[in-house]
Structures are given as C-alpha cells and as structure tokens.
C-alpha cells in the first residue's frame, strides 16, 4: 500500500467489501438452521438466489458491457422448459439422477445456443435497436410457450418431473453454491483483460475497436457467457421447483431483475446480486402487509423526522466550534424530531380520541412549525441559491407527506401495501435512476470506505510522516471507483 488516497481506498474497499460479503455469506450458510426453518422460507430464499444470479449477470451484460438485453430472463426460462420437455418426452424411464443431470445439461446447452444465436443476429444493432429486438424476442418466446400447450402445458403449467435429489435444505445449498460460483466467475471475468475491454467497449465502441479490441467477438462472447450462466442457473433452479409456468419468462420478472440491478448499482454485479437477495425478501414480506391509516401516519412521521434532519442540516451546520454550539446543533437536528416522534407515539393513543386526537394534530402542528422555523433560518444560512432551493423543496416534501398522511388517517383509509408494493417498487426504481444513478448501496459503501481510508491514511501519516502524499491532499479527479 502506497500512501496515496486511491490506493488506500482500494485496499479498504477490498477489505470491507470482502468482510461484508463474508458476513452475508455466513448468514445465509447458517440460515437454514435458525431462520428459514419452513419450506416456504427456503422457497423464497431459492427464488432470491436465482434472481440474484439473474441480476448479477444482467448487470455484467448491461451495466458493464452496455448490451441492454431484455431477453435475459427468457433465456433462463427457455433453458428450464427445454430441459423439462427433454426429460419428459425422451427419457421418461431414466432414474432421477441421470434424468435431472441430462435435463440440466440439455437445458443449459439450449439456452446457450439461443443466447448465441440472438447475439449473432443482433451483432450489428446498437443501443435502442438491440433493446427493441430482445424485448420482442422475450415476449414471443413466452407466447410460443403458451401456444404450444401440448408440449409445454401452456398457460397452466408443466410438471418438472425429475426433481433434484435431496431435501429442500439441500436444494437451498445448491442454489447458494451456484450463486457464489456465479459471483466468483463474474468477479474473475471483470478483473481480467476481458473486463477492461468490456469497459472500453461500453464507453465508446468505435474508439475501442480502433485500439484493437475486437468488439464483435467481445459482444458475442459476453452474451454467450451470460447466457451460459443464466441457463445453467435456470435449469438447476427449475429442477428444485415442482412446476414450470410461462410467468418464468415474463417481462414482469425481467423488469424486477432490472430494478434489482439498478437499485443495487447497475455497473456493479456484486451490488446488484446483494440488492436482489435483500429486495426479494423485502417484497415477499410486504406481500400481506396492509397498513391502517394511523400506521401510515406513524410512518410518515418517521419519514418527516428523517427529512427534517436533511432539511435543517445546512442551516445547522453553522459556524460555531465550541462544544455547546456543536451539541446544540446536534440536539436540534437529530434529537428534536426523534423526541417529537417518540412523544407523539407514546402519548397520542392515550389522549382522548386516539391517534386522530387534538394531541395528534398538535404534534403535527409542532412539526410544521419546526419546518417553518427551519425555512426562516435558511435565510440566515450561508447557502448558494441552488442549495437553498433544494433545501426548501426538501422541506416541502415532508409537509405534503404529513398532510396526506393526516388525511388518510382521518379518513380511516386502509392501504393495501401488498397490492401497491410493486407500484412503490417501480417508483423507487424511477427515482433511483433519476437521482442516484449509481444505485442505493454504492454511495453508502463509498462514503464509509472513503472515511475509513482517510482515517487509515491519517494514522499512517502520523506514524510515518513523509511517506507518500499527506492525507489532506485531494484525490485526483479522474479516479473512478473500480468495480
């Protein structure tokens, strides 16, 4: 490790990233013993791993290589279907192990062939044309599956006859192992010469070609490799589920995979996989949630508390450095909204009329007053006009949320979150793309690793003065985080 910030940051990122990944891995390795004790939990976990493989490889294909394929899920589904059809039609009297293994092999080979053919056909297409063709291909693949009902079972379903041997727990470990292997393969690929070439190709295909990268071959290779990975994953996964349904090829599933990748970080396959696992569990848990009006109000208050911190922060950054002024700022920024919320939560139900009581309105009014006061304080703060506008907008959002929540609570409306969760998910997807193009995970990760790196450097600098650049020196602007 040299004394420069990028080098220190790379080292810290690797350490913290490996630690995080290891912790997640250990959690899922021991989870069947304690957390997923039911078949249902194991089912959801297997689906999460499968979707994580899809999101991770899609992020490699789209985020790293720039090939926005919408046929990713369809290829995996076709692999599952072709394997199942083969084992059912051709070799019904094989024993389980040979049947399942043969079926997985056939499915993988078919998926690889379809993916490669698709890659060949679309070699000359760029950007939107490629996306258009793959989206049409995916939809037609699903329609063909539905139409050929004597072969595939059509809209209803088709039993995947030779299930993988072993219990649910064994299947769980098989999928977990497959996910880890896929992650390792993608990681190795990204850090090889091919990964460099892929980055070059995405940035500018013509320039890459001029620099000696064989763009056509590279495009074909990346689509073939990702097809192989997802076909194998699909073939294995569908052999742990009882039935194949056309929804396995649906664009809705594809859109979920895309959303997982974007929310996690489109250009970082590992972050995409992590986000797929977490969000699959979250969406599954939200399936049956239905919020009463007052719960929504509670949630809204929580949101407001968080937003107010943001809102007040520029005002409260202040200039005083004495402990009293610092403590005062922290008190107002962090504690006041929290205390307000806690007080409202504790006392509003026991006051006459419950949550919709005078007390509830009073506390809400207090929150509004705080926001207005913060707004007034903005005029004294040393802010650029843009920052001031942003802060005011940020302050108006919680106000609107608060009013809406109050109306919902007064109207005693029941929000079926289970029904609306996917719409919320879509809105989060759009907002992430629009405002945080790097995804939700990486900025947080970067923030903490940068601080850790700075700390490391500061310590080094203290212990070995003169070793490399000082920690305070700004990092070069060209430094881009390596995946």
């Amino acid at each position: 490790v040299t004394g420069t910030l990028p080098a220190a940051r790379a080292a810290v990122r690797l350490r913290i990233g490996a630690g995080l990944l290891g912790a997640v891995g250990v959690f899922f390795a021991v989870a069947p013993l304690a957390v997923f004790t039911t078949g249902y939990g194991l089912d959801v976990a297997r689906l999460a791993f499968y979707l994580a493989i899809l999101a991770c490889t899609w992020s490699l294909l789209a985020g790293v290589a720039g090939q926005f394929s919408f046929a990713h899920v369809a290829i995996a589904g076709l692999a599952g279907y072709s394997g199942a059809i083969w084992s059912r039609r051709m070799f019904a009297d094989l024993d389980w192990v040979a049947g399942a293994a043969g079926s997985i092999a056939v499915g993988t080979a078919f998926g690889l062939a379809v993916g490669t053919a698709l890659g060949l056909l679309t070699l000359r297409l760029r950007g939107a044309y490629f996306a258009l063709f793959t989206i049409a291909f995916a939809e037609v693949a699903r329609l063909v599956i539905i139409a050929e009902s004597d072969l595939t079972g059509g809209r209803l379903s088709m039993p995947v006859f030779p299930q993988l041997p072993g219990s649910d727990t064994a299947h769980y470990y098989a999928l977990l192992g497959l996910l880890l292997a896929t992650l390792a393969a993608v990681y190795v690929l990204l850090h090889s010469r091919i990964g460099l070439n892929l980055h070059a190709m995405r940035e500018d295909p013509d320039a890459a070609e001029a620099m000696g990268v064989n763009v056509s071959a590279l495009k074909l290779q990346v689509i073939a490799v990702t097809s192989l990975l997802v076909s194998f994953a699909g073939a294995v996964y569908f052999h742990t589920t009882p039935r194949m349904v056309p929804e396995n090829l649906d664009l809705i599933l594809m859109s979920q995979v895309i959303a997982f990748a974007i929310i996690g970080g489109l250009e970082h396959p590992l972050a995409a996989a992590l986000s797929a696992v977490l969000l699959t569990f979250l969406m599954e848990n939200l399936r049956t949630v239905s919020l009463a009006g007052r719960q929504i109000e509670l949630l809204a208050m929580g949101l407001i508390a968080a937003a107010m911190m943001n809102f007040l922060w520029p005002v409260l950054r202040g200039t005083g450095t004495g402990w009293l002024s610092v403590a005062g700022r922290h008190l107002v920024a962090w504690l006041a909204p929290g205390l307000l919320l806690a007080g409202w939560w504790l006392f509003a139900p026991v006051a006459a009329g419950g949550y919709h009581s005078t007390a509830g309105w009073a506390v809400a009014g207090g929150a509004v007053a705080l926001i207005v006061a913060g707004g007034a304080g903005l005029h004294r703060a040393d802010l650029s006009p843009a920052a001031r506008r942003a802060a005011i907008a940020l302050g108006l959002v919680p106000l609107a949320v608060l009013l809406a929540a109050k109306l919902i609570a007064v109207g005693q409306i029941h929000l079926q979150l289970g029904v609306w969760r996917l719409a919320v998910f879509g809105a989060v997807l759009v907002a992430t793309l629009r405002f945080i193009p790097n995804g939700l995970f990486l900025p947080v990760f970067d923030y903490f690793t940068s601080r850790a790196a700075l700390r490391t450097l500061a310590v080094r600098h203290r212990d070995h003065p003169g070793d490399g650049r000082p920690a305070s020196e700004p990092e070069p602007a060209t430094d881009r985080a390596a995946p």
Binding site: F68, L132, I135, I262, V419, W420, R434
Partner: protein, 402 residues
Amino acid sequence: VSTILWWALASAPLWAVVGSIAVPRRYRTAGQDPGLARTAGTLLGLATGPAGLAWLYARVPPLRSDRHVLAPALLLTGEAYLVLRAQAPGNVCMTSGSYVLNQIQGGILVGAVLATVAVGLTLVYSVLGVVSFTHGQFVMVGGVTAYLLLTEVWQVNPVAAIPVVGLAMFALGAAVEMALLSPMHRGRVDRKDEYAILITFGFGVFLQYAVLGLLGPTSGLRAPRYTDRPLFGLDATSFTVANLRLDTNFLITGVVGVLLCAGLTMFLRHTWSGRALRAVSMNPQAAAVAGIDSGRSFTVAFGLGAMLAGMAGAALVPAVNFPIPDIAGQMAIVSYVIVVLGGLGSVPGAFLGGLFIGVVQSLGAGCYPDPSKGAVYQTAFGLVIFAFVLLARPRGFFGRHQ
C-alpha cells in the same frame, strides 16, 4: 418430395443470413455500390437459395430496386403461397376469397389503430432521439382512463371520451418528459441512450403496477361499446357492404385511428409548433439558431406521443376486451415492429407499416390452422418480420439516410 421441401424451407433462413453477409462484402470488394446489396442478398437468398446467390456473386450486376429487390420479394410471396397451398389445401384462406378479403379489411381497421400508436412512438424518436419503452403502458393507461370515464363518470358515446383522454395523456407525457427526460438534454446524464432506455422502461413498470394496484389483474376490461350508446342511430353491431362484413365498433376505431394520424400530419405541416418539431428533428442546432426552444419541443413531442398512444387506447377499449396488463406489452411490441419496418423516425413509414402489420396479423391469425394458437402467434409473425427487416434493411423501408 415433402422431405426435400422441408429441408429447402428450413435452409432458407440460412441462405438469407449468408446473402446478407456475403453479398455486400462481394460488392464492396468488387468496387460496386453496396447500397442495396444487403437487401437484395437477403431476399434472393431467401427466395432462391444458393442458386440466386451464386448468380449474384459471380455476375455482380449493378443493383436496381425493381429487378433485384421487388422481383425476389414477389417471387418469395408466390413461393410462400404455393407452399401453403401444397401443405394445407383445405385451409379456409385457400378456398374462400371473401374470407381473405374480410380478414384484410379487419386487419386494416385494427392496423389504423396500431399505426396511431406507432406514429406516436416514431414522433418521439424523431424529435428526442429516444425510443420510449413506456409507450405500451401509455396505451394501457389511456384505455383504462377511458374505461373509468365511461363506466364511472359519463354515460355518453365512447367517442366523446377520446379527446378528454387525449388531453390528460398529453399532460402526463409532458410531465414525464420534464421530470425524467429533460436532464438528458441538459447534459446532466452520463450515458444518454442507456439512461433513456432504463428510465422509460422503469416508468413503464411503475405505470403497469399502479394500474394493477388500482384495478387488480383482470382478464379483460369490458367497456361500453360504441353501438351501446349509439351516435347518429348507429346501433347495428355489424353491416354488410358487397361481400364485406364490417364490424361497426372496429370501423369507428379504425376511422378514429386514421383521423388521428391525419390530424398529426396536418399539425406537423401547417402549424408553427409542428414545423418547430420537424425542424428540431432534422437538425437541433440549426433549429436552436433559428430561435426554436428545443427543450419545449422535446416536451411537446413526448406529450404528443403519449397523447396518440392514449387516444389509441381509448379508441380501442370500446371495441375489444382490453386485457390488463398484457395489452401494454402487446401494443409496445407491435409498435416496435412497425417503426422498425417503416424506419425509426418516419411518420408515413409508421402509418403504412401499421396498416401492413395489421393485415399480416389478421391474415396470420385467421389462416393459421389452429385458431387458438393463431391468436397467440399474432405477435410472433411480427417478430419474424422484425428479424427479417433487421437483416435486410436495418434502417427500415422509409428511414432517413443517416
């Protein structure tokens, strides 16, 4: 004989691919103009297999569009007809001329609506340079809005709902453009093309789930028909002209589609806003120099695209069983096929392409031996055309020279 025929048919796509690759290469090395080489090579490979390709390869004649594109295309059509005739002599499309005519007539009427959707898509592309992946969802939202208006609010003829839906959809489209797409044009986004694909797709996902949350998954919305609340006493669900049996609801839908396309053309040709849109689509810099606010043009164009899609949905909902959310995917894919066929960015291309695809789908579904499969395969015929156009002529048949 049938085995030989089968192999000939199966190898035809292979020869098409060979032709699309080898012939342009040959023309380039021979120093000839390779402009039509790809189209001609693909068509000739598909129609005549190795024989025609060998002739083209050996002689390298100067290519003419009538002799080397139109003739193979006609030959191909004839061959397809003969093959179908030989394979399925009892098929109703081979035996009944009036059935075929009726299918064509129905296809044109549906095609006019498809053309409206595609014209909106192509308008957005020509002005913004963005393929909207939320276009199918706009059709769905337009249809759902019209359905809610007609069942919950208004007891009027469904035609009256169409302009209202149009206004609402224009507002929605303009708002989406301002909120989500405008950062692209202000240079705030790193990779514009990818951002455009993802953000429009993501918004489509949101719209789809929001409509599902509102209505729940249904197999189809049954809105009041045009003939249920008759206009000018037009309450017969169908009437016969000569041999043609016209469905009144589809006829009104088709007429609305044609009127919308005509209205858009008039707007683009005869109003200052329309001319501004055309100017921006031809050359944004020159348009800016001439004093056209390109940001406003982008907003208007995207709003118009959403409006056309939504109005097409509103015109369709009183005529068919409107499946939620499948209609979004179906309409999106059909309109992609149409705009690629007509050339991305070409309004007349999109209109003619829409009519053509409508007829192809109608004939394909009507003539497919198994009717239930034929209905499902409608979209698949489109994909075959899509793949073929991409092979033979990637900029479409009315596309601009770039």
